[in-house]
């Protein structure tokens, strides 16, 4: 029972539980909180996978910024989740969706069954693996173009959301 396995089990279970909680919870705000917890557990898993920078990114950007956005929207629109009270027109879809989900999991697991058996055959990693400096250098030198493209994407998203959410008082 190495430390990593222990971490994996606890955090993995947490992630799984919170993920299903997000889907099952009636109250929207609770769903947001569950998702934040899920993000946290995933961040810890990243640390276990010695991906330090990404873990912090996850917390700062995902948990810190995106989920706050969700929280704001939920609070502003005070989504009480009453919307789900009405009868569901596509009720028959539920079992089918669940079945398909299970099949997907089964398929992925079967696909990677080979990887299960291989004992930690992973290669050794040099010390700077996953550190902020390493990711940073790779980002600004190796992957210059994707970085610029993501900046354009973000710009577009900002402009888009501003235009969308702006109150139409001028017209």
């Amino acid at each position: 029972m190495t430390a990593e396995l222990a971490v994996f089990i606890t955090m993995g279970a947490a992630a799984a539980v919170t993920a299903s909680a997000v889907v099952l919870s009636k109250n929207t705000v609770h769903a947001v909180i569950y998702l934040v917890m899920n993000l946290f557990s995933i961040a810890v898993l990243y640390l276990a996978l010695s991906a330090q920078m990404v873990a912090f990114l996850q917390i700062i950007i995902y948990a810190g910024a995106i989920m706050v956005l969700f929280l704001f929207t939920v609070m502003m629109l005070n989504m009480t989740g009453a919307v789900e009270a009405a009868e569901d027109r596509l009720l028959k879809q539920k079992p089918l969706a669940a079945a398909l989900g299970l099949m997907l999991i089964a398929e992925v697991v079967m696909g990677t069954v080979g990887l299960f058996s291989k004992p930690s055959g992973s290669m050794a990693i040099e010390d700077g693996f996953g550190s902020a400096g390493e990711v940073g250098s790779r980002l600004f030198f190796g992957y210059m173009l994707p970085f610029e493209v993501t900046s354009i994407l973000l710009l577009a998203a900002i402009v888009g959301s501003v235009v969308l959410a702006r109150k139409k008082d001028e017209e």
């Binding site: 027109r89 596509l90 879809q93 969706a97 398909l100 099949m103 997907l104 398929e107 079967m110 696909g111």
Partner: protein, 638 residues
């Protein structure tokens, strides 16, 4: 010989003038142009004939090509004409008789409104008949053949307001078309097998082709001939063709068109000779048709229909002669027949003219006193046809029967049939004469008063024809009867020998004395029997009718062939057409089209329902797709 084209050119020109400007020209001018056109054509033919006589025997075969009409790969067909003995004789007959009939019809059609249209068609007919006769190859022959068919249709249904005339025209055209199909296939087969259509080349190569192919071609050409010459299976249109004006019947259904079939067989003799059983078939059909037609003519009461059946039986005799191999005798009978039959028709025409259109023999009688000239001409024609000694009919019929007699195995049977036909011919023609001209008049009083002799413009051509009917026979005097030599050779056969190279079965038929006597006797017997029935013992006819009423009915209705055809072909044809129209056309075709449209509509309807608008069902579809693809990648790709 290039000027020979003018023979066709003049009538063509005449028909164009009358056709286009006819309405604006006065009737006299139209008449004159028409007659002048045919007259000029007759003059050209006579000139050609004269030049032909001067030329030596062997070189009487001139081909004049105008231009290459069809050329495809190895196959070539020129617009060309062939001048030889056979074509000249036919030219003389067509233009000679044609001229006289044109002159006659100026008087006869005087009162008709379509005067110019009539002459345009008549001229066109003469031109196309000449084209047919003078053709140098089968394709031009085919053009002439079809044009003649069209002209006969136009002329039969000349009075198109009359529904019966229109129906008769249609019937004639369709029946001849059936024959034409055979003829066309024959021409195509020739072109395909022999690679060429001009006569000389065809007759040259036909030997190498083998008898069964020759037989096939011959059979197909025979079918065409049967259709055009109204022989037994396809004869039904000729009696109905009497709906057309009488000069038309005279020209087309006596002298020229119906004989085209005989001309075709004579012209294509080398092919037929290659297939003896086809000739025998022709002879058989000829005999059967002759017997059938003459028997029906015995009881026919319409003056023109009698003559129609008589024409059918006479052509049957020609077929018999040709089938038996006596090509020259057949042609000779054709020539003589042209004269006396057109004479009889014109006579009937003037009688109808006098009785203002009445054609039923029962309503005539005693016209001799009133119409002396017509009566005289009709009697001469009747005597000629019956085959009485000095007249042309005797010589041609005798030659014909002698030729038939010498045919190899069926000669005897055919000869007997010929004699029987001669007897019946004599009987029905004189029955006609007695019913029309002798005895008391069975006409209404004022009809009798109205009856008068036709004007000179009609009686003149008739008298000329009567002269022809008498003299034409002498050109075909047999070289010898039995042992007595009458002339160095038979002038007519001698003249024809150049072009009708293959004389049948090696020797020319030598007629014996008893044969001549038998022919003459048959004619006299027929006349005597007619005399008894209709002059001496007037009642016998009605007795016969009552006693043999079954036979009488059969004969009157023409062996019910017409009704049979109607029931078998017409009705089933109409039923088939109906079926096709309703079930097939509406049911299947329309059904299919509408069906396709319908199912496309329904399919698209179903498809549009798939787009439910619910975003979540789309998500489900995406997930399903993902699962499928993952499965595929997992199980199949690995």
């Amino acid at each position: 010989m290039g000027y020979a084209w003018l023979a066709i050119g003049f009538p063509l020109l005449g028909s164009l003038i009358n056709g286009i400007f006819g309405r604006f020209l006065p009737k006299k001018a139209v008449g004159w142009t028409a007659c002048f056109a045919v007259g000029a054509s007759f003059a050209v033919s006579a000139l050609v004939f004269a030049q032909m006589l001067v030329m030596p025997e062997t070189s009487r075969h001139v081909v004049s090509a105008l231009y290459t009409w069809l050329e495809a790969g190895g196959f070539r067909a020129d617009m060309a004409i062939l001048i030889d003995a056979l074509s000249v004789t036919m030219m003389l007959v067509v233009t000679g008789v044609g001229l006289l009939i044109h002159i006659y019809s100026v008087g006869y059609m005087g009162g008709d409104t379509g005067f110019s249209r009539f002459f345009a068609y008549m001229n066109l007919f003469v031109a196309s008949m000449l084209l047919l006769v003078m053709a140098e190859n089968f394709v031009v022959l085919f053009i002439g053949w079809e044009l003649v068919g069209i002209c006969s249709y136009l002329l039969i249904s000349f009075w198109y307001e009359k529904p019966s005339a229109a129906a008769a025209g249609r019937k004639a055209f369709i029946t001849t078309r059936i024959g034409d199909v055979g003829f066309t296939l024959g021409v195509v087969l020739i072109a395909a097998v022999l690679g060429t259509v001009s006569y000389d080349a065809v007759f040259g190569r036909i030997i190498g082709v083998g008898s069964d192919m020759a037989a096939a071609i011959a059979l197909l050409l025979l079918i065409g001939a049967i259709g055009k010459s109204a022989q037994l299976p396809l004869h039904v249109w000729l009696p109905d063709a009497m709906e057309g004006p009488t000069p038309v019947s005279a020209l087309i259904h006596a002298a020229t068109m119906v004989t085209a079939g005989v001309y075709l067989i004579v012209r294509a003799a080398p092919i037929f000779v290659q297939a003896p059983w086809v000739l025998a078939l022709a002879a058989g059909i000829g005999a059967a048709t002759a017997l059938f037609a003459s028997s029906v003519a015995l009881v026919e009461n319409d003056i023109k229909r009698v003559l129609a059946y008589s024409t059918i039986s006479q052509i049957g005799l020609m077929f018999l002669a040709v089938g038996a191999g006596a090509f020259a005798a057949g042609m000779f009978h054709l020539v003589t027949h042209a004269f006396f039959k057109s004479l009889l028709f014109l006579g009937a025409g003037s009688v109808m003219h006098a009785l203002s259109g009445n054609t039923s023999l029962n309503k005539m009688g005693g016209l001799a006193k009133k119409m002396r000239a017509t009566y005289a001409a009709m009697v001469i024609g009747a005597l000629a046809m019956a085959g009485i000694f000095p007249l042309s009919g005797f010589f041609s019929k005798e030659a014909l029967l002698a030729g038939a007699f010498h045919a190899p195995f069926f000669g005897r049977i055919v000869y007997a049939a010929g004699l029987a036909v001669s007897v019946m011919t004599a009987f029905y023609i004189f029955r006609l004469i007695y019913k029309t001209f002798h005895g008391e008049s069975r006409m209404s009083e004022e009809g009798w008063r109205h009856a008068h002799e036709s004007p000179i413009s009609m009686t003149a051509p008739m008298s000329l024809l009567a002269l022809g009917a008498v003299c034409v026979g002498w050109i075909g005097l047999p070289s010898r009867i039995g042992q007595v030599v009458i002339a160095s050779n038979n002038a007519f056969e001698e003249f024809l020998r150049g072009s009708v190279s293959a004389v049948a079965f090696g020797n020319e038929a030598v007629s014996q004395w008893w044969m001549a006597a038998a022919a003459l006797g048959a004619g006299l017997l027929g006349i005597f029997a007619a005399w008894c029935c209709f002059i001496r013992f007037r009642g016998i006819a009605s007795v016969f009718v009552r006693k043999l009423s079954g036979v009488y009915q059969m004969l009157v209705s023409g062996f019910w062939i017409d009704q049979a055809y109607d029931r078998v072909f017409i009705r089933s044809g109409r039923a088939l057409a109906g079926f096709m129209a309703r079930q097939v056309d509406i049911g299947i075709i329309d059904g299919a089209v509408n069906g396709i449209a319908g199912c496309v509509g329904s399919v698209s309807g179903m498809l549009s329902r798939v787009q439910t608008g619910y975003m979540r069902s789309y998500a489900l579809a995406v997930l399903a797709g993902a699962v499928v693809i993952a499965g595929y990648a997992l199980f199949i790709l690995k």
